[in-house]
Symmetry: C2
Subunit: 77 residues, 2 copies
């Protein structure tokens, strides 16, 4: 379980695995605060609701954000 | 309350107000799916935990994402 219950950082382990947009239920972005000095990105998977912390500086997350934005243009015309 | 409980789109009303990064607790990004044909972006406020749906195509959201990404470089060296 990569989530802690303390009012500190939520992520205690950050995955470097890539995440497929199709298998993603949602992405949570938590800005840095005085509880946690770093941005945290938590991906929730469709399959089992499993949560994975992602590295905000990874290509995975940049590609995901790009892919999500591009979905807009795929809406029915 | 801008959230519905049905397994459709989460947002029933989208705010065009701008959201300040400082007042933001987290940002949820829900990719388009067969439940909801559009990307949904839900901002949770620090003050009262209030949730607001944002327009993914607005400048607000683009600026927020940019500001959150930039926070990385502000971490202690």
């Amino acid at each position: 379980i990569p989530l802690s219950r303390t009012p500190r950082c939520t992520c205690i382990k950050i995955s470097e695995l890539s995440v497929n947009l199709r298998s993603l239920e949602k992405l949570e972005v938590i800005p840095a605060s005085h509880f946690c000095p770093r941005v945290e990105i938590i991906a929730t998977m469709k399959k089992n609701g499993e949560k994975t912390c992602l590295n905000p500086e990874s290509k995975t997350i940049k590609n995901l954000v790009k892919a999500i934005s591009k979905e807009r243009s795929k809406r029915s015309p």
